[in-house]
């Protein structure tokens, strides 16, 4: 019958191509209409390239940009890319959107900084700090979900660990002990989640929600019952000193951003690397991924599916616990009620955007950290946008990321499903 060769496959992404192309042109138009408005030739924007006087980095001159030419450059790039996409289509939507987003943010910063001065490196270095708890939450998500256990209770785990770490650090006057306590608490709470979903087959989302509610309730209870009355004895630990890595921290720009940080930031970076190697190059990682993709196959080969899941979820909880410690002993030295402010959930979004890969999760956490850090710094620049709207930025970025327009990934096949041993 139909022995004729199949016809060439008609392009199905026509509509998507046009939609994205037009959206990019709209972005370009918006930049043209809003950002160039009221600019005059000869205006400049000054970007600080040195963090503070205490930094070990070599001082370099600040970046002074002429506002109008710089703005028009970014607008032209955006419009060109939009037109190219509309006419021809671009292979990697991720790169396309990434470049346009960069142009938009750059133009926004220039617009906001015109005739002012803005410490760019300062913002970038606080980006890594703000990304740290998000990255740790995301890494917790990655390691649990690679073994097919969703953990939506990361927020609650971080909150509880934040509290236990600051209290133990205050009592013992030892911040490192605080970190250890945070790890143990995180592991313990995650262990409860694991027990509920693996042993009792509780719906994973419900269990996570219960942990979030318990976490918020417990910590608030302890806060109002004990901490408020005894701040100095219980809730005032001080914070980690910044550790400068010799030589490397002297590099301008990169030095202050990557090599002058709290120890927790370095530990986070190490976890990213170690988790990547473990997941993809060791027997444990192979087993974890098998359990996440096809638990029954793993079971028939004698792998203890439940054990793998318990261990991964608990290790994930310890990582989230470290994230919790960052909120208290890593940054402000005291516990405030509900101080995690949704970072656990943003971490989950970073995990999804990072395609369940530790490095991807870290990079997308940087994106969220950037959005967060940007909104804080913008408030200082007194941009004519209410600070509340700027504060929404990380949440809105999360929602956009979740639509999967940019870089959709496939989760582990068994993610979220309980395993029934026959």
């Amino acid at each position: 019958m139909s022995k004729s060769t199949p016809r060439p496959i008609p392009p199905i992404q026509n509509r998507q191509r046009i939609t994205i192309g037009i959206s990019l042109l709209v972005v370009g138009l918006f930049m043209l209409l809003v950002f160039t408005r009221g600019t005059q030739p000869g205006q400049t924007a000054t970007f600080g390239m040195n963090i503070t006087a205490t930094s070990k980095a070599l001082t370099i001159p600040d970046l002074v940009l002429p506002v109008q030419p710089a703005l028009y450059t970014f607008i032209v790039i955006t419009v060109f890319l939009g037109a190219w996409q509309l006419a021809r289509g671009v292979k990697s939507i991720g790169w396309l959107v990434g470049i346009v987003a960069f142009c938009f943010i750059a133009a926004f910063l220039i617009w906001a900084t015109k005739e002012k001065s803005f410490n760019l490196v300062g913002m970038l270095s606080s980006t890594l700090g703000r990304a740290t708890p998000i990255a740790l939450a995301a890494l917790c998500g990655v390691i649990s979900e690679r073994a097919a256990v969703t953990n939506i209770g990361i927020e609650g785990i971080m909150l509880i660990a934040a509290q236990t770490s600051v209290v133990s650090a205050t009592i013992t006057h030892n911040l490192y002990l605080g970190v250890i306590v945070a790890l143990l608490t995180g592991g313990l709470v995650a262990g409860i989640h694991a027990l509920l979903v693996i042993r009792f087959k509780v719906d994973q989302i419900i269990s996570g929600t219960a942990i979030n509610i318990l976490g918020a309730g417990m910590t608030s209870f302890i806060s109002s019952r004990y901490l408020e009355a005894h701040i100095d004895q219980l809730n005032n630990s001080g914070t980690f000193k910044i550790i400068s890595i010799p030589v490397l921290s002297n590099i301008p720009i990169l030095g202050p951003i990557f090599f002058e940080n709290s120890p927790i930031v370095y530990i986070m970076l190490i976890i990213v690397a170690v988790m990547y190697v473990v997941l993809f190059y060791t027997p444990w990682g192979l087993r974890t991924r098998a359990v996440g993709e096809h638990p029954k196959a793993a079971d028939t080969l004698g792998i203890n599916v439940f054990l793998v899941r318990y261990i991964n979820v608990i290790i994930g909880g310890m990582i989230a616990g470290l994230g919790g410690a960052y909120f208290t002993i890593g940054s402000v030295g005291r516990f405030d009620q509900n101080m995690t402010a949704g970072k656990g959930f943003i971490g989950l979004a970073a995990m999804i955007f990072g395609k369940w890969n530790p490095i991807g999760a870290f990079l997308s956490s940087l994106l969220f950290g950037f959005a967060d850090s940007l909104q804080v710094k913008m408030q200082i620049l007194s941009v004519p946008i209410p600070s509340s709207f700027l504060a929404m930025a990380p949440y809105i970025v999360t929602m956009i990321v979740l639509t999967g327009i940019v870089g959709r990934a496939i989760p582990p096949a068994a993610d979220g499903q309980p395993y029934e041993k026959q």
């Binding site: 019958m1 139909s2 016809r7 190059y281 060791t282 991924r289 098998a290 793993a298 080969l301």
Partner: protein, 523 residues
């Protein structure tokens, strides 16, 4: 030579079912021992006990005369037992090497996976047993036949001496089955022993050294293929003489109810799986779609019923085009669909029977007035249908999840057949059912045909297709190889088409094999 494995009096019960009732079995070194029985006879349960996945209630297992307790797959593997499962236990997103090494990973420096070592070992096994496979390819990209080889390699990599193959031919073309049989021969020549689980009589006759027949959880007997013929084996399997031929009058086809031209469909992962299909189904005839699972049948049916969009091409349903048409519109035009996966698509298990019986027309009078459901009408409808379609249940208020598989299927048939329909699409309508239910559903389908309904049957059971169809279309890799008259074709010819052999060559080859089989039959 000697007995490598003995099972004595194995008994296992599940809530409400006695799956194995004092089963005995012995396996000699270097033999292929077939375990034959209908679906639900207890074959898989028995093998899962042997593999340590279930714990027997009673009975003992002896390996080389020594009594053993098998607590889990690890124990089984350690004692040289390997199992090739009916549904492959392979991780699709991993490579052949990763799948093979999973669970017994060699390492470099005690930390890092040593994939190169495993790949080398796989190549050695490939060579030794004639199991060709590329260790670096991803499982998801391999054809089913090759995936099965990977499963066998997995078992051999663990140095198993006793291989259990659970329904290994269910997903293979007749030609791939030949290939598998050759591999099995090689394996026994190298001293392995094999338990071959199946419900297909002909395979047993072709390959087994001894045959143990199970029925309803009991051992019926162990025979040698030389002593028996297929008819006798069939009788042992089902306990009575069966006649799988459906009695039917010649078809009276009228005008076309469904016309498909040059249809292309992508699956959910956006792969093109239907590649330019054209055919028509006329009122009053049954068109059967034969083919090995996974050749685009599922997506073809999804496209016809509105569950997947068309990529290009044309579907005309009762003269009107179907394009981005919702499942509801298609149902309303008079299409009934017995879905391939009844638990996924066919039923809402947590709904009572009466609600399941109005799943497609709950919003129409008399079941609804405006938006208000008419509970009494819905229940009366259900009472009537469960009688009419012989659904065995205490009442209509129980949840669909409580019914047995056969009765669940009857429930779907009751719902779909009771509507005024012009086209019936039945996908794997009797998969996993007992003989009684199969007969019942086949007769109902023919009844519909005789009423003048156009019927499209999709099945991977060639016997079913031949029994039901007036015309047969063979699908291979998303294309129709040929459409033949059911009365004028042979199983061999269809089998070759299913394997992708072009019709002209298939005709030659079929003629040849037919002669050979006839010669063989003479013994």
């Amino acid at each position: 030579m000697g007995t490598v494995l003995e099972l004595h009096g194995i008994t296992k019960s599940f809530p409400g079912v006695l799956a194995n009732d004092h089963i005995n079995l012995s396996l000699e070194e270097g033999e292929i021992h077939a375990l034959l029985g209908e679906n639900g006879a207890g074959k898989t349960t028995l093998m899962n006990i042997l593999y340590g996945l279930y714990k027997p209630d009673e009975g003992e297992i002896l390996i080389r005369g020594e009594k053993v307790d098998i607590h889990g797959p690890n124990d089984a593997i350690a004692r040289g037992i390997g199992m090739v499962h009916q549904h492959f236990m392979l991780v699709p997103v991993m490579t052949v090497t990763e799948n093979v090494m999973l669970g017994v990973e060699p390492t470099r420096n005690g930390i890092f996976l040593d994939k190169a070592k495993v790949a080398k070992h796989i190549r050695e096994i490939s060579e030794q047993y004639g199991l060709e496979v590329d260790p670096d390819s991803y499982i998801g990209e391999l054809p089913v036949g090759i995936q099965q080889r990977v499963e066998i390699i997995k078992v051999l990599y663990r140095e198993a001496n006793i291989l259990i193959l659970d329904e290994p031919t269910a997903v293979l073309t007749p030609q791939e089955v030949e290939g598998l049989f050759k591999i099995l021969q090689t394996l026994i020549e190298k001293g392995k022993s094999i338990i071959f689980i199946t419900h297909k009589l002909k395979e047993v006759m072709a390959v087994a050294d001894r045959i143990t027949v199970l029925r309803a959880g009991r051992t019926v007997g162990t025979v040698s293929p030389k002593e028996v013929n297929p008819e006798k084996l069939a009788a042992m399997m089902v306990g009575r003489e069966v006649n799988l031929v459906v009695r039917k009058k010649p078809a009276q086809p009228k005008e076309a109810a469904l016309e498909i031209k040059d249809l292309y469909v992508r699956d959910e992962r956006k792969n093109m799986v239907v590649n330019g299909i054209s055919f028509e189904v006329r009122k009053g005839e049954v068109l059967g779609i034969a083919g090995v699972q996974g050749n685009g049948q599922t997506e073809l049916v999804y496209a016809l019923t509105g569950l997947l969009p068309l990529e290009s091409g044309e579907i005309r349903l009762l003269g009107r085009p179907v394009y981005h048409t919702s499942p509801r519109t298609i149902i309303e035009r008079g299409v009934a669909h017995v879905p391939e996966d009844r638990l996924k698509h066919g039923l809402v298990l947590s709904f009572p029977l009466h609600d399941n019986l109005v799943l497609c027309n709950y919003y129409l009078p008399p079941f609804a007035k405006g938006i208000s459901l008419q509970q009494t009408v819905i229940i009366n409808n259900a009472e009537k249908l469960i009688k009419q379609f012989d659904v065995r249940t205490p009442n209509v208020y129980v949840n669909a999840s409580t019914l047995s598989g056969g009765n669940q299927q009857k429930l779907i048939v009751a719902r779909e057949f009771s509507r005024p329909i012009k086209l019936l699409i039945a996908s794997q309508p009797t998969r996993g059912l007992d003989v009684g239910s199969i007969e019942y559903i086949h007769n109902r389908i023919i009844e519909k045909r005789d009423e003048g309904t156009a019927v499209l049957v999709v099945s991977s059971e060639l016997d079913e297709i031949i029994a039901l169809s007036d015309r047969i279309a063979v699908i291979y890799r998303g294309q129709i190889m040929e459409i033949v008259d059911a009365a004028k074709t042979s199983k061999e010819y269809l089998g070759l088409l299913m394997a992708g052999i072009q019709p002209s060559e298939a005709a030659k080859a079929a003629a040849k094999t037919k002669k050979e089989t006839e010669v063989e039959r003479v013994f």
